[in-house]
Amino acid sequence: MTILPLTTYLKMYRKRTGFTHDEVAFLLGSMSGQSVSRHEHAKRLPILKTALMYEAIFGAPVREIYEGVFVEVRGTVQARARGLCASLEKKKPTKCLERKISLLKAIIGEDGSANIA
């Protein structure tokens, strides 16, 4: 049985650098160390800009820092992609439609390529 990833690995990345909460908050600008702690404990998700700042600070993609969240949203998107794919396949095939179906299958992972972390 594969274990589910944690919501966030932010604390791991911060401890690797040795930065304190306040130092990371300073790099983020106008936030207290408490906000960083809340993000580490997954009590609150950061806004997009802050998440990208974490990526800039720690050199790790947001999807790896928030791996648990990424796995969750990817599952949601894949489920919706299956539904959309099924409805598009019922329509009269066109080049544009085939391209969309191909992209949806890539999202779902059925074509054996891409979009799987």
Binding site: M1, T2, I3, L4, L6, K11, K15, R16, G18, H41
Partner: protein, 168 residues
């Protein structure tokens, strides 16, 4: 060091000490998620278990790794905490893996008579994030540095991930 079993585990290694406990969380056998020494101020096990519970809630470990402490006459705080943690993990349905110093040395491919500092240095090589924590080699009159509890906890966690699946 990783095997298929290790890839599916998240281990919480705990080394109780007089002032609290050293801890380490290892995921997949190679990924060190968290580590440190936590201070516990009360003498009984209640506060200790509260802190452990918070860690279990945060990291959702699949295993807890502890030291198989030798039996001592009378009670000891460390022995009491190990016993209370074993009971607690049993209540929560979490497997508890007991490690010995000899098994840790085997897990990290060291000779059986390697010193604690040599074990810690090897662990620091395996997990470079711990290198800043590595204390100086202890002299006979020095008390043990509290940071060694972190390396002990990592050692227990490593042993639990290198064992064969199903074996305890």
């Amino acid at each position: 060091m990783s095997n298929s079993f290790a890839r599916q585990t998240r281990v919480l290694g705990i080394d109780p000490c007089t002032k609290g406990f050293g801890f380490a969380v290892i995921e997949g056998g190679t990924r060190l998620l968290d580590w440190g020494v936590a201070r516990v101020y009360s003498r009984n096990s209640e506060e200790f278990l509260v802190r452990i519970n918070a860690m279990i809630e945060r990291y959702r470990p699949t295993l807890i790794a502890l030291e198989q402490a030798p039996e001592r006459r009378g009670g000891s705080r460390k022995g009491d905490r190990i016993a209370s943690l074993m009971r607690y993990s049993d209540e929560r349905g979490l497997p508890c893996i007991m490690s010995t110093r000899r098994k840790i040395r085997q897990a990290i491919a060291l000779r059986p008579d390697a010193t604690k500092h040599e074990v810690a240095a090897r662990i620091a090589q395996l997990f470079p994030d711990l290198m800043p924590l590595l204390p100086m080699r202890r002299r006979p009159w020095d008390t043990e540095d509290a940071r060694m509890n972190v390396f002990d906890a990592v050692g227990f966690a490593l042993h639990s991930t290198t064992r064969k699946e199903g074996a305890i």
